[in-house]
């Protein structure tokens, strides 16, 4: 008897989102424990690529194009998903832990009498039971929980599950689902605003591009400055050793004796990752490390690890980003 998994993914851009791939990776992790069949609902815009991706991975895909709606997908998701779920009757519902799922998953769980486990980082089996591991107390502890219900609705942390391909022997399928005309919400979307693209100061930068001694030479600071301009609301920063060498003023220092920052994205370029530095940026939401040394400690605290010469990597990135402008 196969367990039915139901993946819910929001699709915004043409590319398949990495969260969508990680949701499939999560289903794959569960398949290592129990036999599964996987259904997927894709909601949003530009659904073709993502639909094919899931079909190729043996999923039964239902895609719902929301572009004609004058409402946010966050306010329509529950109304669209619930009837579809009721036709599939899945045991496990998986979605990403983000503003999309926060807006409907707990409600869906109540409606379906399912348990709701959010921010899952790991799934394993113990005593014949699926156990879901999640951080509590600001990543100080991990709580291992199990469901008391037959149905389980979970959301997974970005980056917690690897984007892996499923066993493709299963045939996939796809169906487009039309949004019924009578589907309404009292919550009307007026418009969407995005943060200004101008360079902002260090303290409220969304993206911090920081350099360590690994960038090699003082001249490369200018390159770092240019690279940082590829990002909205960005700032540059530096590690203590780099600043001690006089390559950047002290106000740019991140670490125990400098600033403690927690931007949306922290990009560590040629930084070894000493505990002093990590203490100043370890709570950043998403950490990218670029370093030519595969054993650099910075990779231990990073979400995205790029083993490469930092300068060559920055050059190539700027080239591609500039071409797209």
């Amino acid at each position: 008897m196969k367990t039915t998994i139901f993946i819910i993914a929001e699709q915004i851009e043409k590319k398949v989102s990495s969260m969508a791939k990680e949701l499939l990776g999560c289903a794959f992790e569960i398949e290592k424990i129990i036999p599964v069949s996987v259904h997927t609902i894709l909601i949003g815009d530009h659904l073709d690529h993502a639909t094919d991706y899931f079909v190729d991975n043996g999923c039964q895909v239902k895609s719902v194009d929301l572009s004609p709606l004058k409402a946010s997908p966050l306010d329509m998701a529950l109304k669209i998903i619930e009837p579809i779920i009721n036709t599939v009757q899945p045991t496990i519902i998986i979605t990403g832990h983000n503003s999309f799922s926060i807006a409907f998953l707990p409600q869906l769980a109540i409606h379906l009498d399912a348990s709701c486990i959010t921010g899952v980082k790991k799934i394993f089996q113990k005593d014949n039971q699926l156990v879901f591991s999640r951080y509590i107390w600001n990543t100080k502890f991990e709580s291992q929980v199990y469901s008391e219900k037959k149905r389980i609705a979970i959301s997974i942390l970005a980056g917690a599950f690897q984007a892996k391909q499923m066993n493709t022997e299963r045939p996939g399928s796809k169906i487009q689902v039309e949004v019924p005309d009578n589907l309404t919400t009292p919550i009307k979307l007026q418009f969407i605003s995005r943060p200004p693209d101008t360079e902002s100061n260090f303290d409220d930068a969304d993206v911090i591009v920081a350099a360590g001694q690994g960038i090699g030479a003082l001249e490369n600071i200018e390159k770092l400055r240019l690279f940082s301009k590829c990002f909205k609301r960005s700032s540059i920063a530096g590690s203590r050793p780099l600043i001690d060498m006089g390559w950047l003023p002290y106000k740019y220092q991140v670490g125990i004796t400098g600033k403690t920052v927690s931007p949306f994205i922290y990009i560590a370029c040629g930084i070894s990752g000493s505990s002093q530095h990590v203490a100043g940026m370890g709570s950043s939401e998403y950490i990218v490390a670029i370093n030519s040394d595969p054993n650099a400690a910075i990779f231990n605290v990073s979400d995205l690890c790029i083993v490469h010469d930092t300068i060559e990597f920055m050059d190539k990135c700027m080239e591609i980003i500039c071409l797209a402008l």
């Binding site: 966050l74 008391e148 917690a160």
Partner: protein, 263 residues
């Protein structure tokens, strides 16, 4: 206008917290101190700002917690709320959001509110579920992650935060709804410090303690249980990008695009 704000007590001094001897919860000490969950403080402030703008508004505060939760309820009253309620449970009893939301929905059903505010999540468990679940149980509209709210006679204007600083500007006609629930994101406001006289006044007010067995019957219902709690491994789940330089750069740019941070 009546507003209900749901608040949660959070252990102070989180750096010193320990796992209990059964390994399935946080160790409770006799003299532990509790404070108002940070997100809930923003929710209380948002309600108090509305009270200042709209004459005749009254604010009720409710929490599910042990008797010592009175300190956080009184703090919220010191900030400007009018009445306080404690749905009283045993110290150390873990209740998941589904159970908490069932208890809070009962309160909301007994009294009629125009608005229910909750913090977007609690700092300790970070489930981000309770507000949404209350709304589902009451079958009322809900907006999560609110960073601005303006209420007029006809309309409710709300800004909701999405990833990467993207903001959705939403509007609800008040004639379309009876009660609306908002979960409040940090950054909406700066919660005020209660003045001494306000705190003393709040302290002299009697809180409603709800502890009758019938009301608390949901406590035995839970959607999930904790098997174990242990110290988290500090490292992140680093994902390595493989391939030649072009592949690496492409994947990196894709991930940055998805997070909406590229120019």
């Amino acid at each position: 206008m009546k507003i209900l704000v749901c608040v949660k007590p959070i252990l102070e001094n989180s750096e010193n917290i320990q796992i209990n001897s059964q390994g399935n919860g946080i160790h409770m000490t006799q003299n532990a101190k509790y404070r108002l969950n940070r997100f809930d403080a923003h929710a209380v402030e948002a309600a108090v700002v509305i009270k200042e703008q709209i004459p005749g508004t009254s604010i009720d505060i409710v929490t599910v917690g042990p008797s010592f939760s009175d300190t956080i309820v009184k703090r919220a009253m010191g900030m400007g709320a009018d009445n306080g309620m404690i749905i009283q449970i045993e110290p150390g009893l873990y209740l998941p959001p589904s159970t908490i939301s069932a208890l809070l929905a009962k309160i909301a059903r007994q009294r009629t509110y125009d608005f229910i505010f909750c913090g977007m999540m609690s700092e300790d468990e970070m489930n981000a579920q309770t507000g949404q679940m209350i709304a589902a149980r009451l079958n009322i509209p809900v907006i999560s992650g609110v960073i601005d709210v303006q209420i007029s006679d006809q309309q409710i204007q709300v800004i909701r935060e999405r990833e990467g600083g993207v903001r959705e500007h939403l509007v609800v006609n008040r004639s379309d709804i009876q009660t609306m629930l908002l979960t409040i994101q940090a950054g909406i406001n700066q919660p005020r410090y209660p003045g001494l006289s306000a705190l003393l006044n709040a302290n002299s007010k009697k809180l409603s303690i709800i502890n009758d067995k019938e009301f608390l019957s949901e406590i035995s219902q839970r959607d999930q249980s904790i098997r174990a709690i242990h110290k988290a491994t500090k490292t992140r789940q680093g994902k390595y990008i493989d391939g030649v330089i072009d592949d690496k750069v492409k994947q990196f740019i894709d991930i940055m695009k998805e997070r909406n941070v590229l120019i």
